[in-house]
Every structure is written in C-alpha cells, then in structure tokens.
Amino acid sequence: MSSNISRRDFLRLAGMAATATAATAAQAALAPEARAAGAVTAPQWESKFGACDMCFNRCGLIARVERGVIKKLDPNPKFTKSRGMLCARGNAGVDQVYDPERIKTPMLRVGNRGEGKWKAIGWDEALDLAASKMKDIAAKYTRCGMLFSAGADTQSQFVHRFAEAFGSYNITSHESLCLLSGNRAFVDTFGDVPLPDVRSSKYVILAGANRMEALVTPDSMDLMTIMREGAKVVVLDPRYTKSAALASEWHAIKPGTDMAFMLALAHVIITEKLYDPKFVAERTSGLDQLAAHVAEMTPAWAEAETGIPAADILRMARELAAAAPAAMVYPGRRSSDYENSTQIRRSFAIVNALLGNWDRPGGLVPARPAGLKKVPFEPPFYDDNPPGRVDAKSVPLLFDDEGSFVITRENIIKGAPYPLKGWFVYKTNPMATAPDRRKTREMIDKLEFMVVVDIAMSDTAWMADLVLPAPSALERQDPVQALQAGAEGACLVWRDPVIPALHQSRPVFEILKTLSVKLGFPEAFDFDIPKYREMQLAALPEAAEILKRDGVYYPPNPPLGGTDGQPFKTPSTKIELYSNRYADLGLDPLPVYASPKASPDAGRKFRLVAGRSACVTQASSTNNALLSEFEPENTLWLNEESAKELGVKQGDVVQVESPAGKGELKALVTPKIRKDTVYMLSGFGTISGKLSHTTGVGASIVELMESRFDAICGNSAIHETFVSVKKKGAA
C-alpha cells in the first residue's frame, strides 16, 4: 500500500520533486548556496491507512509511522468525502495518542467520588469487579438497572449489543444532547433524515449551523466551492461566526426566532405561488392547512420577530424559490436549542418541501445505500424487566434507541419509574456535555457502580468507580463503518492499528467480549473483528481488497431521483407539511410560532448560546496539547455596547451566573455578537485532575446551562438559559 500511495503522490508532484532533486544534486558542488547533496532525504516512514477519530466525520487518513512512532497524519487523497483534507483536529490526533495524561492502566477509585484518589489495578481484577457489580445490580434492580452510554465511536455498536444481551433497555448516546430534534422533525415530515447535496446547490440558507467552524464533510468545503461558482449562501446566526463572515449574506437573527423566518419564507413562496405545483400536489400533503397557517405570517411580521428586514426576507424567499430545486434550507446537525426545537426544525423541513428539492441535485437527498450487513444475534428476554426504558413515555416521540439523556438523568435522580443504579460509559462525557453539570453529578451520586472506558480521564471518568483505558482509534482494529457524503454516495472505512495499543489500553470490544463471558452470554460476542467485518461485507465481495488498497471503498451509488414515485415513509406516504402523526398525538400539526420567552429575571438579560471552533470537538479535544495552542481558554463573547453598559473592558474577568451555576472567565468584547446574547466555547472549566490544559481554565458552559429538553423528542435544549454578567469585583 505504501508504494501505491507514493506512486500516486509522486505523479502529482513529479515535475517539482524531480527538478528539485536533480538540481540539488548537480549544483551542490558548484553552488555553495545550496544544501549539501543528499542533506535532505525522505523520511523513513511507513504509510498506513486510518480513519480520524477527532470528531464524528471520520476522515480517511494516512499515518506516517517511523520506528513505531506516529510522526504525522495526512489526508488520504482517495477519501473524497473530505475533499482530501485533514483539519486541525485531525492533525492533532497524534497528540491524543501521545498525551502524557492518558489513562494507562485500569484505575479503581479509592477516595471519595470525584476526589481523584485512584489505585492502579490489573485487568483481571478490574473486569471481575465490573462483572460482579453488574450482576449485583441486575439481581437487585433488574437488568434495566444498568444504563449504557456510548459516544459517537465505531465500537459503540458493541456497547449497544452488549446492553441488549445483558438485558437493559436503557441505552443513551451523545445524540440526545445534540441532533435528535432535527432528526425528529425530518422523520416526521419526510419519513427520513435526509442529507444535503451542497455541492450542486445554488442557494443555501444556513440557519443556526456554523459549517465553517463546526466542520462537516464535505459540506463545509462545498459551501465555499459553490459560492465561488456563483451560488448564494445565507447565514442566520446571532454571532458573526466564520460562516457568517464568509457567507454571501449574514443576518444577526434574534435567537429563538428562526421559525418565524421560515414561516415567512413559506408565506411568500405560497402566496406568490413560487413552489412547484406538480411536486407539491403529488408529493406533499397539507398545503391548504399550511397556506392557512402562514397566511398572516408576512415578512413584515417576521421582521418584528427576527430583526431581519422584511424586504430581505421577501427577496430571499424569491431567490430561494427561483433557485429551486437546487436550493435548500440546510437541515443542520446539532438542533438541541429550544424546548420547541422539533417544531422549529419542522419549519425548516416544510420550506424544503415547498422547494421540491427532495432527491434532486442541490437539494435534500435520502441516505445512499452502503451495502453493509448487520451482524444478527439473539439476545435473551428477561421477563422480570420493567416494560420499557426509564425515560419511556416522558415525551410523545422519544426515539426508542436513543432515549433522552436529560430525562433519564432526571428519572435516575428521582428513582422513578424504577431505580437505575449502574452506569457503563464508553467515550462519551456527559459531565462536560450535558447541560446542568450539578444534575449530572447528582445523578452519579445515586449510582452504586459506574465504570468508564475512555482514552483520557474525562470529567465523567473522573467521577467513576472504575476507569478502564481504551486505545485511540489509531491503535485498534475496528469494524467497517459506512459514512454518508450527500449525493456522492456512501463510503466505507475501517481501521487497523497503525501502532500497537499503548500502555495497558484495551479496545472496548475486548472488554465487552470478556465481560460477556463472565456474565454468561458469550454467544453475543462469538466473533473477532475480522470475522465481524466479513459478516458486514457479506454483500460486497470486493470491498475488503479495495479497503486494504485505498483505505476507503465506494459502494455502487444509484443516481438521484431513485425515490421518485415511491411513497414517503410517513403515515400519509407523502411529505407531511401538516403532520398527521402530530395531530394524532395532540401536538401542533403545523409549527406554531411563539415569540421566545423573555428572561424571567431582569438581572439575567443575556441568552447563553453554544457553538464551535474548528479546533474544538466539544469537550473531547480541548485538553489536546496542540489544539490547546489554538484555543487555550474560553472567553465570554460580549457585545461592545453591552460591555460598555457593564463597565467591562477587553480581557476583564467576568462572573457569569444562571440558576444552574456560575463561572468566571475572560470577556471578549466584540461587535461579532448581538447585544442580547453571550457565547462561550464548551470544554473548559473542567474538573478532572488529568486535564491540565482545561481544568481551572476558563468556565464550564454546562455549569451554566439549565436542564431543559425538547418537549417532543426529549433532546436537550441548551439555548434556553439566561445569564447575568458582571465584571469580577464589581458590586
């Protein structure tokens, strides 16, 4: 494989490299102002394929390994989903591997919870302990007494498998702290979670999505490309993010009013009949109800709500419709904003439906087939289990396989409807990512046993009874993973270790396999990773060879339009502008707008919003030595005028307070944010004693966020908090 890479790259640079090398050799003796001949030689590295794990995108990479040490991670040029790039975080993946603060051995808590007193123990002792504790909890509280939480990791599927085999229904992932509201809205409108085909789009409205900092491949790069080709990208954001800076047009929308903007777009598109009548008639249901619903929602009305001039809204609606179907309201990912985020995202989905962009180039496309087979198993059924998840029926439309972390946490604290006393956590970090850190702490205090498997001692691991070291994604073998890349089709990646696992780390797969034996269900893990991959690739006989050769495999990708004439996976088999399901459940069948609630406390006049830097993956990367150089601490973005009123100057330390908690950090006084809004990065103000770049540095955003959730799907709602800000030391 290395010869293959170098040949390809060599061709790319052949002229340059050959000239330089020959010239250097020939001229060294004659021209003293040159390096001595042969002074610069190619590094003696091996090149090995991998897939990045610094965020969920999993960009294909090539690890340059010299004498067993990873020297550099480069983009895999054949991994076209990321357009041949590796971002700052991807490059910093090396520092994750060689982080001196990594968990090196299994650690048993010996002091009080969170006190940081640990004892290094052997794997046998650690896994015996975990197995016996899980057995005890199952015996005392049924098998649903264990909660399993796994982050966005290729091996997380084994945690789900294990939980099912163990017999617990209580499984959460990071998704209910992130993207479920958007998924809910699109499933309930289109019957599917579509992907944006940015590359062919002519007009994109990014509302509350910051693609130039919260990088999503290939969308982030494609947005720049299409703008160069004449497409228009509109950004709505209370902050002047880098996306706002680079967009064709930016509007500092008032937080929480996106729905008003979308409904006004619908109003213009419907009243001016700018939609495709054939598409809307054949493929959607509820246009009449929608038309009636938005009849009064004029651009002028929306201007009063959003702060965006009516003339601009009118113009954008017309431009958007004119570009349709190669136009879209970008669906976005993280949608954990408000208690009515599902309805907000429904309004996004509805405008897309009116554009008739479904399964069209430049519009929203259904997920492309990947061809991976699931690996079946037959977990036992335990009759003594409670009827469902601990958060079941808490909201009308919970995703049963994701649940809601915020509600689960609430119910664990209450001990109702049934007690939940054990927690298995793999590479997810609710102590630093779930709103209201004190509540997470309170929940943990209710537990009898908590085990965390992770690479670094996250804040969540810091709270555990038992911490087990996992290798990084560069040190382990992984199953095949399918990745979606818009209309270009899915691609498959896998991982083989580019170096052996460091320290005593063990992949969670091996941990679970061992535990499955100790707990009496070895049949759930009667395979190894190569065998598992074989089963996954049963329908793709050529894939394994190509993965070995290229580091990525592209399954056949049918052309767009394949769903034309086929029913949508909704109750009405059409795109539901008017949601029958919501009507059934007594929910608003059309998104009903209400002005965002004002702060309940005059002293707390700033809405706190979350966001991203391209050098930060929430709380999982801020302790990275290289990335901490880019984001050494978080600051509170504070509008210049607001700062003036508060007497806060650039760099002053401010005290921020909400009903949930408080924090101190430096102020960034800037025109780049609305006067009524403040912003800070996540991942700082940590509490773990093994995160030296972030513990005691900046403030924790989850300490300040109140515990709110989406009323329809239970996704967390992290923009519902108002905070007070004052200069430290001021009265």
Binding site: L13, M16, A23, V40, M85, A88, P671
Partner: protein, 260 residues
C-alpha cells in the same frame, strides 16, 4: 533551469480552520507557542451598521528573491537555495543571534524557544523528498494553498498563476520590496501588515561602523606592512641585521640604533 518554489494562495477560499497551522506544527515539530505559518483575519468592514464579509489570509515565509533576512545573518546559516529558490536556515550553522527576526518585514521568523535558533517555514523539504506537498498544502480543506515550481509551466502553481494573470497580488513591505514568492489570487486582506525591516542596532553597528572600520584598520596595517616590505626590498637587506654573529658596532653604525 533552476526551480522556483512558490506558494499561490487563493485567500478568498480560506475558512480560517487552522488545519494548515496544525499540520505544520505536527510535521515539523514546531515548539509550543511559536508558529511557522499563520492565518491573518482582516478586520471586517461595517456595512449598513453590520459587519460585512470577512477575509482570511493564510501566510508563512515568502521565500523572497531578495530576502532581507539573508543579509542580516552573520554566519550564512540563512541563505537562498539556488537549486529551488527557497530561503533556508541551516540549523547547524545558526547561532541564534536573532538578527534575522526583526529583519524580516513579514514577521515570518522566530527564535525557537527550545532549539534557540531561528526558525520559519521550510516548504517541508523532507516531505518533498518523499514526493509529498508541504504539510500545510496537503491538509488544506479548501485547497486555498497551492504549491509548486512556478518556473515549470506544468506545475499547479504556475497554472494557477497563469490563469489569474493580472489579478495576482503580493503583500510587500512598502519600504523594502524583497520580491516575495507568495502570490495571492485576485485580492487579499489584510494587506498593510508588512512592516519595515529592522536590523538590531548591534547589526547596524557591525555592518555600517565596525566592518568599514576594520577594513580601514586592516587596510592601513596592510599598507604599512607593504611600505615596510617595499623599503626592505628597495633599500635592500642589511646584511648585518639579524645575524647573531655581527658585532654591535656595525649595528650602531649602519642601523643607527642606539640601544645603550
């Protein structure tokens, strides 16, 4: 023909993601707190009371054709590599005097706090030897950075330059056009950041006072020696002088010495 390595940057494509900066640090083991390359952010214009379009400008050492840093280097550790046109620092020859740092109008140089010598962008010669582009170019998400030999019309960089003839701009120190080899396409901002190259006072003293002074002193001394040698040759060798057998009277008589 010698190569002329250059970077052609379409700064309007840059999203300020810092991938190039991170890649550079990782590829070259650049010490904590210092940077071989950068992305500068233009102060956004205010249009109709709100911030207008932003612009981000990737940069690094421009490997100038008339580099002021080379002049400021006392040991020749910094030089213009004639084979490929890059400005090179030989770490083994650098004594870390720091002269070159303020002499670069683009702030491209720094003194590495660990190795204690001057450092800057090298265009990743090891990677080039392996047939790879420089780390920053390879990793860039939007391919804003394009690298190559612009004397080779088939290189990506030369093609991009040719395609944008008349639209290419360079950031140049107004006081001193060092002929940088970093080309920005169409327009770029910020553009006024290049500063006047400044040599440390000690260096100016060396080049403007001490070096001429020493030249004169050595010249004068050399002239004196020549004069003595001339006289010696013209007037002729005194056979009595310097031979230990000669008597003192002769010395006195012929040489006029009066040592008593």
């Amino acid at each position: 023909m010698n190569a002329k390595l250059a970077m052609v940057i379409d700064s309007a494509k840059c999203i300020d993601c810092k991938a190039c900066v991170a890649a550079c640090k990782q590829a070259n083991g650049v010490s904590r707190g210092v940077w071989r390359n950068w992305i500068k952010e233009a102060v956004p214009p205010v249009e109709n009371g709100k911030l207008g379009r932003g612009h981000f400008q990737p940069g690094a050492c421009m490997h100038c054709d008339e580099p002021s840093c080379v002049i400021a280097c006392p040991t020749g550790a910094t030089f213009k590599d004639k084979a490929d046109g890059s400005v090179v620092i030989d770490p083994k020859l650098c004594i870390g005097c720091g002269n070159c740092i303020p002499s670069c109008p683009y702030g491209a140089r720094f003194r590495d706090p660990v190795r204690r010598i001057a450092d800057k962008c090298t265009y990743c010669p090891e990677r080039r030897a392996a047939g790879l582009p420089p780390a920053c170019v390879d990793t860039c998400p939007t391919k804003a950075r394009v690298f190559g030999d612009i004397s080779d019309p088939n290189s990506d960089a030369a093609k991009l330059l040719a395609a944008n003839q008349g639209k290419v701009v360079r950031v140049i120190a107004k006081q001193n056009d060092t002929k940088p080899n970093m080309y920005y396409i169409a327009s770029t901002a910020p553009d006024g950041w290049a500063v006047k190259p400044v040599n440390p006072l000690s260096f100016d003293a060396l080049s403007q006072v001490v070096a001429p002074l020493v030249k004169y002193a050595v010249g004068l001394s050399g002239l004196g020696v020549l004069a003595m040698l001339g006289r010696q040759l013209l007037v002729g060798q005194k056979p009595d002088v310097g031979t230990p057998h000669e008597g003192p009277e002769k010395d006195k008589k012929e040489d006029g010495h009066d040592a008593r």
